[in-house]
Subunit: 338 residues, 2 copies
C-alpha cells in the first residue's frame, strides 16, 4: 500500500507533514510518498536523520497551494502544486490514499475532481471525529456542502455509519439527526424530510437511527454519528472547538491565580493530563472526506507531526476497510428514485 | 411598574417562580403579579414567610401549560392556564412585562399573539445571552424561527444591537453574522444575502457590523451579538451548553480521582468558584423575546428562584429602556422595500 502525503500543506509544512509521514512509514510499515519540493523535503528529513527511511519516497512538485488560493480554481491554476500533483498520483493509481493538511476547500474540490464520487453518491462530506462524553462522535457533514437535500443527509448518515463501523470499530453506530428539538415534528422542511428518510432506513434495519438530537446531546455522547448539513455542521464543529478553547483557557487561569492554586495544580496534574489528552485532536489525526471513491484524509491545518502520522494511520485503515465497496453495495438504500 | 410572573411555569414551579417573583418585588421595589393557583401560591409564600410582601399580588389562574402541550394551540385550549392569563393581563395593560419559565414554544406563540410584533418587524426572536471570553454574547435568533429570510436576519441584528446597548449597556455592540468561514463570499444564499444587507447597514454607520464569524469565534468573544437563523442558532446555543456541561463533568472527575487531587481541589477552590460563577446562567435570568411590542422574558425551564428574580430584574430594565420605541423609530432601516 502507498499513502500519498502532501508535504507542503498545512501551517507547519513541510516539517510536520514530512516528519509525520516518515514516522508513519516507520511505524506502520506502509510506503509513504512525500509530495513537494525535493530539496526542502530532504533537508527536513536530514534534520531528523530520517533521510534513509526505506519506505519513504519523494515525489517532486515545484509549487504549493496556500490558504489564500481560491479553492475552486487553484488546482487548475497551479498544476505543479504539491496538492495537485498528489491528486494526479492518486488518480493514476500510484498511491492508494491521500493525506493533506492544506487548504480544505481546495482539497475537497480535488477529492471530487480527481478521486471522483462513489457512483450514486451526490456529494462528498467532511466527517471529523470529536471527543464527547464516553468516547467520540463523528460530525457529517461538517462543512463541505453549505446547501443540502434530504437525500444528501440520508447519504451522510449511511456514509458516517459505514465509516464509524469499518474504520473506527463502532458496532451498530447510533445515528442522530441534528435538530432544534428531539420531537419528530421539529425542524425546517429539510430536517423533516430527512427525518422521514432516516426513520424509514431505521425501521428497515439498515441504520441504527436514534432520532433527532439537539446540539447539547452531541458533546454529551448521545450518538456516534451526528448528521447535519455542512453549514450547521460547521457551526457545530467550530462552536465545540471554541467553547473547549475558551473553557481550557479559563481553567488555566484558575491554576495560575495564586501560589496555593499552583500547588493545587501540581496535585491534580495527572488527572489534568488525562483531561487534556481526551481533547487532544492529534490522536485522531484527520477528518475523512467520505463519499469519494478513493480515501482522502484532511489533517487539521495546524497539525503537528503526530497528527499527520495519525492521519496516515487513518488513511491506511480506510484503504484496508472495504468501506468504499460497502457504500457501492448499499447504494440502492441511499438513493431516492426520481 | 408591574411585572407579570407566570407562577406555574417551569420545572421548579411554583416554588422558584413564586419565591423568585417575591424576592424581586422586595429587591427592586416594583410590583410583581404572581399568576396561578392562589392556594398553591399562598402556601409557597407562607413556607418562606413571604405572604405579606407588600408589592406582590396574586392573580388567579386555575390551569397550567406543561411541556407536553402543543405550543401552537395550548393557549387557546387552556384559556385559564397561568400562561394564557398572564398574556391576557399583558395585553390588557394590567402589567408592563411578562416573565415565564414555561413551555418556550407556547410562550413565543403567546408573545406574538398577545404582545404583538413591533410594526414592521417580521418575526420575534429568542435572544439568550451566553458567557464568552471577556464577557457575554447574545445569540439572535436562538430558536424561534427555523426558517428565516435575509431581512429577518437584518432585523435580528438591529434588535440584538439595540437590546445589547439599551438593556445590557454595551456601547456600539459588535455584530457578527454566524457563518461557515470569515470570508465575505462564504455561506449559503441566505448568509450571502444577509451579509450584503448587514454590510450596507454597517457602511451607513447604523450597525457596528464586524463581518462573518465562525462558530469558534463566538465563545472566544469576537462579537457582542451573533446573528443566526433560529435553526443554527439553536444548534449553537445547545452545543455551547453541551460542551460546557461535558467539560465541567470531566473536570469534576479530575478532582475526585485521588486524595491528592481532592486536596488540590481545596487549594484551587476559590478560583474554581469564580470559574463556575462565570458559567452560572442564573445570574443572567432569562432570554428576551425581541421584536415583540411588549417585554416578554423566557426564563430557563430549570430556573431556580435566583434565576427568576434576575429575569424579573431584566424585565424591569427592558421596560424602562425605551428599546421598543427605538426599534419603531429605526424600523425604516430594518425593512427592505418590496
Amino acid at each position: 500500500m502507498k499513502i500519498i502525503v502532501d508535504a507542503m500543506g498545512g501551517d507547519n509544512a513541510p516539517e510536520s507533514a514530512v516528519w509525520g509521514g516518515a514516522l508513519a512509514a516507520q511505524e506502520y510499515g506502509e510506503e509513504v510518498l512525500l509530495v513537494g519540493d525535493p530539496d526542502r523535503i530532504m533537508q527536513v528529513l536530514r534534520a531528523r536523520g530520517m533521510e534513509n527511511t526505506s519506505a519513504v519516497t519523494i515525489m517532486p512538485a515545484s509549487d504549493l497551494v496556500d490558504m489564500h488560493d481560491d479553492p475552486a480554481t487553484v488546482l487548475r491554476h497551479k498544476p505543479d502544486s504539491s496538492m495537485a500533483v498528489s491528486f494526479k498520483l492518486l488518480k493514476a493509481g500510484e498511491g492508494d490514499a491521500l493525506v493533506s493538511a492544506g487548504n480544505t476547500g481546495a482539497l475537497l474540490t480535488g477529492a471530487t475532481l480527481y478521486g471522483g464520487r462513489i457512483k450514486g453518491i451526490r456529494r462528498g462530506a467532511l466527517a471529523p471525529v470529536m471527543p464527547c462524553k464516553g468516547g467520540q462522535v463523528m460530525l457529517c457533514d461538517a462543512g463541505a456542502n453549505t446547501e443540502c437535500t434530504a437525500e444528501m443527509l440520508l447519504q451522510f448518515a449511511f456514509l458516517g455509519a459505514l465509516y464509524a463501523e469499518k474504520i473506527n470499530g463502532v458496532k451498530s453506530p447510533r445515528i442522530g439527526l441534528v435538530n432544534n428539538g428531539t420531537e419528530d415534528t421539529k425542524g425546517d422542511p429539510l430536517r423533516k424530510e430527512a427525518y422521514a428518510l432516516l426513520k424509514k432506513a431505521g425501521d428497515e434495519g439498515r441504520l441504527n437511527f436514534i432520532g433527532n438530537v439537539e446540539g447539547s446531546m452531541v458533546p454529551l455522547g448521545a450518538c456516534d454519528v451526528a448528521v447535519c448539513d455542512g453549514y450547521s455542521g460547521n457551526v457545530m464543529l467550530k462552536t465545540i472547538e471554541g467553547v473547549a478553547k475558551f473553557m481550557a483557557g479559563e481553567i488555566k487561569g484558575v491554576f495560575t491565580r495564586s501560589l496555593a492554586a499552583k500547588l493545587g495544580y501540581l496535585m491534580c496534574k495527572k488527572g489534568l493530563g488525562s483531561f487534556r489528552e481526551q481533547f487532544n485532536q492529534d490522536k485522531i489525526g484527520g477528518a475523512p472526506f467520505i463519499g469519494i471513491a478513493k480515501p482522502v484524509i484532511k489533517a487539521h491545518g495546524s497539525s503537528g507531526e503526530i497528527a499527520v502520522m495519525n492521519a496516515v494511520r487513518q488513511a491506511i485503515a480506510y484503504t484496508k476497510s472495504g468501506m468504499i465497496e460497502a457504500v457501492s453495495e448499499n447504494i440502492a438504500y441511499m438513493t431516492i428514485p426520481e
